[in-house]
Symmetry: C2
Subunit: 291 residues, 2 copies
Amino acid sequence: MILCRTIPELKAAVSKFKRELTEGETIGFVPTMGYLHEGHASLLRRSTKENRFTVLSIFVNPMQFGPNEDLDKYPRNEERDLALAEASGVHAVFLPSVEEMYPNRPLTKVTVSQVTERLCGASRPGHFDGVGLVVGKLFHLVQPDRSYFGMKDAQQVAVVQQMVDDLNFPVEIVPCPIVREPDGLALSSRNVYLSAEQRQQAVVLSQSLELAKKWLDEGKLTPNELLQRVQNHITSVPQAEIDYVELLTYPRLEQVPANDPISGSSPLILALAVKFGTTRLIDNTLLTFGG
Amino acid sequence: MILCRTIPELKAAVSKFKRELTEGETIGFVPTMGYLHEGHASLLRRSTKENRFTVLSIFVNPMQFGPNEDLDKYPRNEERDLALAEASGVHAVFLPSVEEMYPNRPLTKVTVSQVTERLCGASRPGHFDGVGLVVGKLFHLVQPDRSYFGMKDAQQVAVVQQMVDDLNFPVEIVPCPIVREPDGLALSSRNVYLSAEQRQQAVVLSQSLELAKKWLDEGKLTPNELLQRVQNHITSVPQAEIDYVELLTYPRLEQVPANDPISGSSPLILALAVKFGTTRLIDNTLLTFGG
């Protein structure tokens, strides 16, 4: 496994891989902010299975954090990350410093409209501009054929896919399923912030998504009715503070009529952001309908 | 010469070229809006000289025209363009329709700040967003090693270089000198709009740039003094209507103190936009100082 801390080192590794590729072989890429867990490992395993070479990037991108967010305390563990990468069959890890990625303040902004208006785009102003910028930079540096993203950040997948389509990036975006703890909690690097009590209560996120599917199977509901039930379930635990609970089309993330019965004309996403103390967790599920 | 009207056709041509490249060989790219003249030809010749393969794109990009600009009447002559391309040794021409480039309204915006604040960025709001979008798309589709741009659009060169630096596009931007008519008028597809009388008067643009250099050689001037003399020279012809005459740093395009003598601490650009009737012409010269 090649460790690259600078852009020239990464470019040398990518050139080497490209020279070694034979007809039909590809490079896979998994961009992360590190503190890797089984969710990241599932992306890496899929990439190493589907591509000749896999590049992992670990970069806590300051441009996608707001001024009052958790940039400074975002968890890091380089040694463990590298061990997990090696065990997952990764061929190169790109671990740049902030100065390496942003030697000067960038004057270029990549902005995706509409898809970023709701959910985390609304709660975290500027977040997806930062994501667009860093993903654009990384795609240009790594030049992958495929890039793997976890569906826990479903809006991020939608935004990156929109940017790839609009700008004709020669990269296939591969969305991958959310990986969960045995009790249902979606894996997240931020779970480490939770107290024991909060960790127990946080199970209401995935529970409420499962309940929502059950309620929809049992009979017709309007978005308003469904969202009310989900909110009630989440706030049944004392420390949960809802940031948003929304039902939108996917991947366009447009609103659906609040008081018409939910129907299966297009795939919908039920997405949640809930704070436990200062820790903000997100989760979601896609709802598809048989008829 | 391969003619590509669709993205799949272009991708097939690019793949073919990439397969045929041997170690150290490169692909050059010249993006244009067609109605090619000797200025474009100079870019194409330089590219065919410096690269194994050269791709030319001809696309009148609606996204970089304002609502009251000359999109509908922008001159076109596909047959002559293809003959010139062939004669210049081009290997593939990409000639997409608007629908091919924009099958849906793009939601992604590429915006470069600061460098776009003055000159054409101020006179043509949104123009450089359109340029950034189409250049980003074309770079992703053609995947060139080098791309050639004429310095007549000096601000465009600065904006594209900024975007390439900020987003780590793996493309070298090659700025090429302005090509002029024997009397000094910078070549432009828009020159065809000029009446015989306007064409004669339009020589004041390049004349005033040459005079400016002479005046600066003769003695110290402030930007205000220099710009006043240039404006006087331009408006000495009856049909010239000044859009802007500016002296800025290059490539950052920042203002210099208006009343301090011009000095050679950093390269400066003297840039003009002048209307003759409805036809807007631009020209510029870089000023570098011996000491």
